[in-house]
Symmetry: C2
Subunit: 199 residues, 2 copies
């Protein structure tokens, strides 16, 4: 069994490291702006930290092969997008498959004890987030992952061939815009509850 002092010291170290990673991501604009305010608040609490998060996005994902390792963003939007912009991006030359996706938020929050991790699970429930749980449980280091459920994922192009009609792609982009709206509302609700209840 490790001593409380040792796990406490380790937590402080982990928390500091994550605060630095967050600062760097913010400086380099690698974190989307809807996440900055939530992450900054969490970083300022005594017992919780976060180094990253994505508030949700609409993307055109290129897959050269079946492996996710071989994927890259053809386009990425952290907000609603004009259907015409998606159509234009699809007209560009691409290789392999292109998937049109609306991906929900994903947030990782760290803390120092099982009790505090359970506190995060209760805030998750309170804010109506259905998906997520404790993904790491070590002495002095617990990580809770929270994921939204709004999503769209569909193949739209293979090689040079766009598989769906412009009209259909417009419909799907409008759906993605509606869903990303609900998704952002959920993140806002979560931030509201976190600001009230995490110290």
């Amino acid at each position: 069994m490790e001593g409380k002092k040792k796990t406490g010291a380790r937590f402080e170290m982990v928390k500091k490291r994550h605060a630095a990673t967050l600062k760097k991501a913010e400086d380099e604009k690698k974190i989307d702006k809807a996440m900055v305010s939530l992450c900054d608040f969490i970083s300022g609490t005594k017992n919780f930290f976060t180094s990253s998060g994505c508030s949700g996005r609409i993307i055109l994902l290129g897959l050269k092969s079946r492996s996710k390792l071989d994927s890259r963003f053809h386009r990425k939007w952290h907000e609603k997008v004009e259907p015409e912009k998606v159509l234009e991006a699809l007209e560009e030359e691409t290789e392999g498959e292109i998937w049109l996706k609306m991906e929900p938020f994903i947030i990782h929050i760290g803390t120092n004890s099982l009790e505090n991790a359970k506190k995060l699970l209760s805030l998750k429930d309170k804010s109506g987030i259905k998906r997520g749980g404790i993904i790491t449980a070590k002495p002095g280091k617990f990580i809770v992952e929270l994921i939204g459920t709004e999503e769209i994922s569909v193949l739209v192009k293979r090689g040079k061939k766009i598989l769906a009609s412009d009209e259909f792609i417009r419909e799907i982009v409008e759906e993605a815009n509606r869903k990303i709206g609900f998704n952002y509302e959920r993140v806002e609700k979560f931030e509201e509850i976190v600001r009230k209840e995490l110290r």
Copy 2:
């Protein structure tokens, strides 16, 4: 603090109740067959239980309104499906929106201690399952959720109007078939590891 004896007794009770629910689901064929063997094995261990699970499916989901509460299955397949069957099902009269979805497996496993819950997280990692975590953490009752990442989700019909061409729907169903194949392989891999490592 509750005594070990009390939480132990509570665990036995919960485990028994879940075994009965599982038995009933199997008798009524409410659990898909790819899950039966895994759930039976887990149910037979000393420290773990499960009452449910879905091995993944291809569905046509009807949404009368924006609320998930208002959704119902127009069709559901726990295996690969002929594209023509999907097209036929879409020709039937339906209300509201119809979404074509390939949903990944979702498995809930319960256990009696944080240590055993962590054991489940390690088996999740070993079998290459990316998503999931401890969703309940109470004295004597820990639940781990595991979810696959292969998925497709796209709106295909609104009111009487099928939004996509037959050709496109065939493409997407073939993708769904490929993805559900990978998804089932992951479940098999997980079962293989569980059978080796859970007692």
